[in-house]
């Protein structure tokens, strides 16, 4: 039995999937940057005894 079905995914859905993928990637990247900056700020404000 063939493991695939036809027809392929419609172009509109592919475009929407691309948009979703890009949006999710940018969001996750921003989360990573926020954690990076957040920990430096945390150390600056809470870590020093000065």
């Amino acid at each position: 039995m063939s493991a695939v079905i036809k027809p392929e995914i419609p172009a509109s859905e592919l475009a929407e999937r691309k948009r979703r993928a890009k949006r999710a990637a940018v969001l996750l990247g921003l989360v990573a940057v926020a954690v990076y900056v957040g920990f430096i700020v945390l150390t600056f404000t809470r870590g020093s005894h000065g």
């Binding site: 695939v4 027809p7 999710a24 990637a25 996750l28 954690v35 920990f39 430096i40």
Partner: protein
């Protein structure tokens, strides 16, 4: 690649299955299979470089006194061995397996962001070239341990900024790889592939990827602050300027403990694929396995200070970190129970992937138990910074992570190459590895309990016997690993043709694809009944 990618494959347009040739195929690679292969080859190379460093360490420790290298170089070897193995071997190996398997297993044509995927990989050779070159700058490579604790690390050689830059690059590569994994799994699954139908390897990687995004920036932040302390006059971790060196340890281990789970969670996924296949039974308690991985990931964020009991902390802190660490035994116990229950009254066979998975089950559990011992605060005061700790984390990482990577390669190699490997050689590789890994690491428990400190090139004479045995185990283990690349080369060159479903009990979308695997797969998604059949749990 040895297979003919133009071979007609059912359900695929043969005319569309072309692939680039020559060096451009690899430098400009955007195909998940090619990038997966590059990650795995790179990880293998780093494994042997890191392994060579381990051989230097064990040769030096074969008997008391200084034998071959000076103490500074010895410390450099312990530091570099860890960095190469963690960031160069194990993490890229998991990313390689993710690249190969996740699109195949969720019915996606490729990773969601193929160019980013290429970039994530090609960062790594530069990072590790820089790191390796630190051995040749004045003062030698980093020698303060992979934990990079200040103030020691700030007193290091001229290689310090190179190490920091290399770590930043590795972190960037991991974060980009993790973003790609999450976006692929969340957006590219075939219709009908619901989250709770996904194979456990995919689940384990989804959770691992979230961990990576949460903690790799923390490491990047910590090493950035080290850099500014060293070169720009800040005093984040310098007591003389009002900073706090212990703060570094908190930040490092807030990254470091989840990092340990980053190294092991995909192993749970692989073992959860292999045991049902060779037990010929669905995994026992699929949903419990998913929740257990998620629980372990959550707990990994609230246990970091168990690495620092001897630094000193309030009693309430000690109790909290001790008990939260012990809690991890519960979801881990669920997993071990479910793997065992899957095998209960099953029709097991013992092909190489299953042998490695079973060794994982036994030996990782030993590492887990010694971890539980280390979680007990008063006991940890005895064990801290001894060879007991070295034995513990090597039991978790070598028969844990590395055996699982090997299990995964032995499991999927017939699918990737469409050829079957030499079973006898693979079993010899397994038995030699399983015996020597215990000869290598088990005596280190005794050394640690007897008080031998870690990270020393010389030791008191009473530790000689077990060190000799451990070193013999190391040489045996190191030599045994040479079988692995030879076996893969032999399989690719002249292995017997493997069927599309290489293992009788294998389920999962990857086994629904033809062999040889077309260069492009799942360009049209699998049908609902194929997905339902593949998710037999």
């Amino acid at each position: 690649m040895a297979y003919d990618s133009h071979a007609a494959a059912p359900g695929h347009d043969a005319h569309d299955d072309h692939k680039p040739h020559g060096w451009k195929r690899w430098v400009y690679a955007t195909n998940h299979k090619d990038i997966g292969t590059m990650y795995l080859v790179f990880a293998g190379l780093m494994f042997f470089i890191g392994g060579a460093m381990a051989m230097v360490i064990r040769a030096e420790l074969f008997k008391p006194g200084l034998q071959f290298v000076d103490p500074m170089f010895f410390n450099s070897m312990t530091t570099m061995h860890a960095l190469f193995m963690i960031f160069g071997a194990v993490m890229p190996a998991w990313t390689g397996l993710a690249n190969w398997q996740i699109p195949l297993q969720v019915g996606a044509p490729d990773m969601a962001l193929p160019r980013l995927n290429n970039f994530s990989f090609w960062i790594l050779p530069f990072a590790f070239t820089i790191l390796f070159c630190t051995l040749f700058v004045p003062g030698g490579g980093p020698a303060g341990g992979w934990t990079l604790y200040p103030p020691l690390v700030l007193q290091g050689s001229e290689s310090f900024p190179m190490v920091i830059f290399a770590i930043h690059l590795m972190g960037a590569s991991s974060i980009l790889g993790a973003i790609n994994v999450i976006v692929t799994i969340m957006n590219m699954r075939a219709p009908g592939m619901s989250l709770l139908r996904m194979p456990l390897f995919v689940w384990s990687w989804l959770i691992t990827a979230y961990l990576l995004i949460a903690v790799m920036p923390v490491l990047a932040g910590a090493v950035t602050m080290l850099l500014t302390d060293h070169f720009f006059g800040t005093t984040f971790f310098t007591a003389a300027g009002g900073g706090d060196p212990v703060m570094f340890q908190h930040i490092f281990w807030f990254f470091g403990h989840p990092e340990v789970y980053i190294l092991i969670l995909p192993a749970f996924g692989i073992v959860s694929e292999i045991i049902p296949t060779f037990a010929r039974k669905p995994i026992f308690g699929y949903e419990a396995m998913v929740y257990a991985i998620a629980s372990i990931a959550f707990l990994s964020f609230i246990v970091w200070a168990h690495h620092m009991f001897t630094v000193g902390m309030p009693l309430a802190g000690q109790l909290f970190f001790m008990l939260s660490t012990m809690l991890i035994a519960i979801p881990t116990g669920v997993k071990v129970f479910n793997w065992t229950a899957t095998m209960w009254k099953s029709s097991m066979t013992f092909e190489p992937p299953m042998l490695f998975a079973l060794a994982f089950l036994f030996l990782f559990t030993i590492g887990g138990f010694s971890g539980l011992m280390l979680a007990i605060v008063p006991a940890d005061f005895q064990y801290h910074d001894t060879y007991f700790v070295v034995a513990h984390f090597h039991y978790v990482l070598v028969p844990g992570a590395i055996f699982s990577i090997m299990a995964g390669v032995y499991y999927w190699l017939p699918k990737w190459t469409s050829r079957m490997y030499d079973m006898g050689l693979a079993k010899a590789h397994f038995w030699l590895s399983a015996i020597f890994v215990n000869v290598l690491f088990f005596p280190q428990h005794f050394l640690g309990l007897a008080g031998m400190p870690r990270r020393i090139p010389d030791y008191a004479v009473q530790f000689t016997d077990w060190n000799m045995i451990s070193s013999i185990g190391a040489f045996g283990f190191g030599l045994s690993q040479l079988i692995f690349p030879y076996l893969i080369w032999k399989c690719v060159k002249s292995g017997a043709p493997a069927p599309a479903r290489a293992w009788e009990g294998a389920h999962g979308l990857e086994w629904e694809l033809p062999s040889p695997l077309p260069y492009h797969t799942w360009e049209t998604p699998p049908s609902a009944d194929v997905i339902a059949r593949s998710a037999e749990h």
